[in-house]
Symmetry: C2
Subunit: 226 residues, 2 copies
Amino acid sequence: MDHAPAPLRLSEQLCEKIEEQIVTGLLRPGARLDEQELAAAFGVSRTPIREALIQLASAGLVDMRPRRGAVVAEIEPHRLCEMFDVMAELEAMCARLAARRISEQEIVALRDAHQACESARDADNPDAYYWLNELFHRQIYMASHNGFLAEQAISLHRRLRPYRRLQLRVRNRMKVSYSEHQSIVDAIVAGDGERAAELIRGHIQVQGERFTDLVASVRQLSSPAA
Amino acid sequence: MDHAPAPLRLSEQLCEKIEEQIVTGLLRPGARLDEQELAAAFGVSRTPIREALIQLASAGLVDMRPRRGAVVAEIEPHRLCEMFDVMAELEAMCARLAARRISEQEIVALRDAHQACESARDADNPDAYYWLNELFHRQIYMASHNGFLAEQAISLHRRLRPYRRLQLRVRNRMKVSYSEHQSIVDAIVAGDGERAAELIRGHIQVQGERFTDLVASVRQLSSPAA
DNA sequence: TTGATCAAACGTGTATACACGTTAGGATTC
DNA sequence: GAATCCTAACGTGTATACACGTTTGATCAA
């Protein structure tokens, strides 16, 4: 599908690799990102590392303080809630548009993605569910037929990844999530945009609300010393 | 307000300068951004220029093609409409939240900003109106009391600047815009979030719709040769 | 012992140098 | 005369070198 023959630029590859380490939690929020250290670790010079860090800083995953080095961005609980509120609104917009514009093919794809989530739920496999859930939501983004909106949604979704991931461990979360998905699919297929928007807004916001509880532990993780 | 003592990094300053040249139209969409040329023009080396371009590329104002140089991003008409749709939704969200959360002080500030627009309208000064309009909208962003949302709105607003600017030249646009502002202020102060959201959504979307007409001329500007 | 001051090491920010892909121009061939 | 191939110049991508601010450790004074 992605027929780009080669990234061809080290900066891009490094950007993805470092982002991977951030979202998987290998690099914790607040961790220093020493340019020389990273350069040595990846076997390249500082130049492409710097360029990768600048990109990640623009994306909000890294915080660069002048002359004082870069660190993995620490998102305080309050801001995290704000971000989830915006995410909820973006997804609501996607759902509203999707209800009006989704094609027959896309309906099939959406139902397939939904079905796949069911399998992961039944297998009680949070990691699988995490990925399949992401694919499910992307189907809705695409069905909005607004490419820019879809990009924004994907971008913010990525940024929230490390925090979202914890959610699925909550008891019964997968089952509740799946049943919410069902209602959303029904509303979209029925062409009821307002209902679909309202449902998915709640679906996302509940995660933000629950974070009010979880953030404490996250904060503990990111600042062990103090 | 912004108590940052000094940007201290050339990359940042160059980023702003180049962005300025893009949004003011000095650098037209599609224009090549030769690193050596820019470096010579600003009297610096290629390194900070590259870093500035990477930031601008992340922001979407510049398009970097591997090994083939950077150009000012060309936004095709279709995508521009998509961006205005998202902008409308972001502003609607700001207005909805603002109606619930705005403080007495912020109401005063909002009315002041609105009043300032009136002066520019009466003076029939589109350039002044352009800036005051921006300040007016920012008051609403801030009143949403969602810092992340406000940042996103400001960011997208900046990106749409070069295209938005043309709008005010349209006959009677300033008068219509001002009267729409009035209704929006009333709805927010009255605490009617849904009405405020609906009004501002229309206020923004009408710009996107009108662009369907204007884009032809924009396209002509950006690609004189063919 | 604790506090402040200073100096050296460290790391970022910028400049320069080099390598490779891209592109444009000219020569050659059909 | 037009198209293609080759070649050389150009510009990007990466590496290296250097300058300056920041930080840290030690020394000295109270």
